[in-house]
Each structure stands twice: as C-alpha cells, then as structure tokens.
Amino acid sequence: MDYFVELFFSGLTRGSIYALIALGYTMVYGIIGLINFAHGEIYMIGAFTALIVSTVLSIFGFPLPAIIILTALAAAIWASAYGYTVEKLAYRPLRNASRLSPLISAIGMSIFLQNYVLLAQTPDFLPFPALIPDFDFMEPYAGFIGSSDLVILVTTTVIMILLTLLIKFTRTGKAMRATAQDRKMAMLVGINVDHVISITFILGSALAAIGGMLIASHIGQINFYIGFIAGIKAFTAAVLGGIGSIPGAVLGSFILGLTESFATGYVSSDYEDVFAFSLLVLILIFRPSGLLGKATIEKV
C-alpha cells in the first residue's frame, strides 16, 4: 500500500509538471491552431536560465528565499522573451500560409533552439542545485511524498487557479477567448489579435519555465534534450484532455502522469516513454477530440 501511495504522489508531481507545459500547447493551439513544437524547448530554456541564475546568485551569497524568487522571475521572464521572439520570427510571417508551413517552421525552431543551447552551454548533463529545502513538518510523510513534491503540487494548483481567473474574468482573458472562438470576428470587434497571440505565447512560456525550474530542482539534473521528450509528453496530455481546452489539459496531464508512474512502478521502467507514446497513438485513433474536447465538424 505504501508503494502505491508513493507512486500515486510521484504521478501527481509528474502530472502537475506536464500540466504546466501542456497549458502552453493548448492555449496556443486554441488560438492559432498550431502545434508549437518549440514549446518543449522553451521549457528547457527556462530550466537552463534557472540553473544559471540560481548558481550565479548563490555564488554571490544571496539568501535562499531571495534566490528562489529571483530565479523563478528570471526564468519566467527570459522564457517569455524567447516565446515571444519565436512567435514573431517563425510563426507570424506564416499566419496566412498553408497548414504545413508553420508546422515545419516550428520543428525547425525546435531543432534550432536545442542546438543553440547545446552549443552555447554544454552537451553534458548539468547538476541542478536543490532549491527547495526539506521542511521539518513533512518529516512524518517523507516515505511517500517529499517536500519538493509538495511545493510542486501547491505551486501548480495556485498557478492553475490564477490562470483560470485571468482567462475568465479579465479583459485580456476575454480577448483571448474571443480570438480562440473566431479570429476574424474578434478583429472586427476591435481586438488586437497580434497582441493577444503574443500574450498567449508569453503566458504559455512563463508557465513552462516555472515547470522547468521546479522539475529540474526536483530531479537534480538537466541537459539540452529534456525539452524534446517533455514536450511530446505534455502534448500527449493536451491531446488526451482535448486540445484547445484548458481544464482538459490539466486533466489529461494528471492522467498521463499517474499512468506513467504506475506503469513504470509496476511494469517496467525501460519502456517509460513507450507508454506515453502508445497512449497518444491510441487516443488519436479512438477519440481524436480528447476527453473534454468537442468533436468539430469541418465546414466548407
């Protein structure tokens, strides 16, 4: 039973990280209908920025709470800047091109960013300092849930609530929903669509960067390739929940996280990635619109 609980919590932790990344996919897809392949790379860049900033700050002798806050801020800001730039360079000029063009451009961007980090930093794994200390009050539960798991779960929950509030109740959120529903109509009622798309990329990137920082500090090492696998898995989660739907992305992420955790715990850890990919293929075959997505009929 203890093993089961342990796997359950590790699945939840995984799921919340996937959720932070999957939201970026799903928001971008909802608004411009593009699978942003470079999103996984943004997450990786967020993790790298966090590593660099936190190491520099700790060498300069900052106290731990200051390091955590400044690192999270820096990672979110720089990752957003990357997301914004990627959209402007690689997707905006292709907005009216055929469906295939932005997709190829996105793959190109993903390969480019991966190799950019590889060349600018290092091809090796780098150890990531554990930013989150072990809390004393967590001592009795240490068997199945660690302090960093708790922090990840709490942070994700808070971010989800804030995001939902933002999308439901603010002007920007309304503009985003309007653009997602009908871009032309949104333009006609005076929404600056380019602006909304930029904001979507910025928000998605910031979430991914926070996810990157949390998971890197939880696992303890990063390299330039982490974004690729994490990206595909988060995408799987987004599709599982129904791409374009925000609660769907969260639900899909938790299902995927738990599935992976139990499958690796009880079956075999060699095939960890195979489970996720097979799940993706199966969903797309049997329910391409996802759990919470609406099946759309293409109209001429």
């Binding site: 790298f48 063009s101 480019f112 001429v300």
Partner: protein
Amino acid sequence: MLSFKDFGRACVVALWFMVLTFPLMVIKVNPIDRVITWRWHNMVWVGVGSFLCYLASRAWQIHRDARLRRIRLGQEEEKEPLSRRILQNPSIYRPLLAAGALFFLAFPGLFSTYQTNIMITALMYVVLGLGLNIVVGVAGLLDLGYVAFYAVGAYAYALLNLHFGLGFWTVLPIGGLLAATFGILLGFPVLRLRGDYLAIVTLGFGEIIRLILENWNEFSHGPSGISNIPRPGFFGIQMSLDQSITYLYYLMIGMVLFTIFVVNRLQNSRIGRAWFALREDEIACQAMGIDKTRTKLTAFALGATWAGMVGVIFAAKTTFVNPASFTFLESAIILCIVVLGGMGSIVGVIIAALVLILLPEYLRAFSEYRMLVFGAVLVIMMVFRPQGIVANIRKTYRVEEG
C-alpha cells in the same frame, strides 16, 4: 533603399537579441566547482549578427515589394525563375545532365575510397529525400517518423541475415515490403486524422520503434546493435573492400536512377495527380470522388518502401546497425532535404540532399553547427522561400491562340 529608420530598428533588434541571449550565451556556470565564466565576446557577436540579419531581411523585403509593385503596374514582366528557365530549355539542361552523369559515373575512378564512401551516403539521402518527398512534398502529409521505416529496413536485413542467412538481394525487396507494411499498419488508423496530429503520431511512432530496438535485447541485441552484416554480393565473387565499395557505389547510382524514374512516372500518373490535389484541398478532392484514406495510404506506403530499401543498403554498407543511427534528428535531416529542395520537386531534392550531406563532410570545422543550421534552414525556407530552391514544375497545358 534602406532608410535611417531601418538602421534605428536594426539597433533595437540587436539590443533585444543581446539581452535575450545574455544568460545562455554570456554566462556559463559550473554548479559543482561554483565557478562562473563570463563570455562577453559572444554578446558582441550576437549584436552584430542580429543587426546585419535584420538589415538583410529588410532589404530583401523592400526589393520584393518594389518588384511586386512594378509587376502590378505592368512596368516589368514577371520573370520566370532561373531554375525553370534551365529546366525548360533543352540546349542548356542536356549538356548539364550529360556532364553530371559523366561525373557521377567516373566518381570512384577519380576519387579515393573515402570520398566514394561519403558519396554513397549522400546518394542514400538522395533516395531517402525522394521517398519522403512523395509523402511530404507531393501528398502533403507531414511524416516526422520517416526514420522508423529506414530502421525497419536496416534491422530486417540484419536480423534475417543473422537468423536465416538470407542475402542482400533477397532482403532488399523484403525490407521494402516490410517497411510498406509498417507504413500501412501505422497509416491506416492515423491517416484519417488532420495533418498536424499525423505529424506528432509519426514522431511518436519513430520514437517507439527506436525505444523498442534499444530495450528489447532478445530481439534486437539492444543498444550494442548487430555487427558483421555481409556486404552485398555479386554472383558469389569475392571482392576486396575497395571493390565492394565501388560496387556499392554503382548499386546506389542504379537505385537513384530507379527512384527518379519511378517517382517521376508516379507524379504524372492518376494517383500522383490525386496526391497533388489532396495536398491542395482535401474537401474538394473528396467531392471529386477521390478516396482520401486510400490515396494517402498509398503515398505513405510508397514513401516507406524507399526508406526500407535504403535501410537494407545502409545495413549492408556499414555492416553494423544499432538504434543510435535512427534518432529523430535523422528524420529531421531528411525533412530538411525535402523542404530545402522544394516540396514535390525531384531536381531540387537531389541538389538539396547532395548539398546538405556533402557540405558538412567537407566543412568539418563547422560540423558541430550542422544541426543548428538545419533547424535554421527549415525556418528560413518557410518564411522566405516556401517553394524551395527549385520550385516544382506542375504540368501545364497551353491553349494555342488563333
């Protein structure tokens, strides 16, 4: 012409990129020894580079807009692209073709075995490019797991040879067929989906195949791979290493010619026209009575067949296969060949494959930038020249006047 405003903007762009790349390009930390290395010179490079890139793209934009305006006002005739002028004028392209043919036929005699080996690799990518061209370029299905079919072919030869002692020539068609079967098995459920889902499913499929090959030790010998695969035979004649490489070279030339022939005939066939039509507009296509799934499936299976056959040749060439040869990056390189060459264009794909594979071999100093450049090529081509270096020439009919 470029105005002062453009220079001002270029400065802003340069500044933006300098700030953007600051943490990753300038700072390098070593978390264990707690040392920071500051690399300020990188910031200068980024600044100068982005400044010049912005100006260049701006100049190109101004030039294009001005030309488009002149064409619209009727001051200038729309120029036929250079590639088309060459391809449509027999007195230019025939000598070029003859020179090319002579060069490739004489290649093993003129250059060393090492060079021939590189050329074989390049030719393999030509065939892979042409194969993927059917799927991506002609039928418009973005396949990111193409390398999986290549792996199927390579492992088919390695395993059939290991267990049953089958020879190269027997396995060559088997490898092709096996890859086609995999293509159909994967394609059948997936091809009903929209284009972007297809991309991600094929990507996942490619990774699944690689992970299975890596982990299923009893079947594929795991990450260490299978070695001592025999080279292709020629009626049982014993050949030295040099001879067998030369032989493989000519075999590859034959393979390229065969591929060009088949792909060319296919493009103008009933099914080829259906592919082009499907790429342009699926709904209109279905309204015209084209079976969407079957047409897509044919493209998928045919593309996979080439990958399977080249896989067999790859196994025979290197005499060793392991899962590390079949990563996503390989698929990305082949996709890059198709995109750079021009989707649907045979000549373009051949040129692109030769350029993209041979250039990094001879510019060894820059080889680490290879994948960086490939990624950039994909983006730049899509933004500035989506039709590729040699635009595909569609069959056109002219109505004679009078």
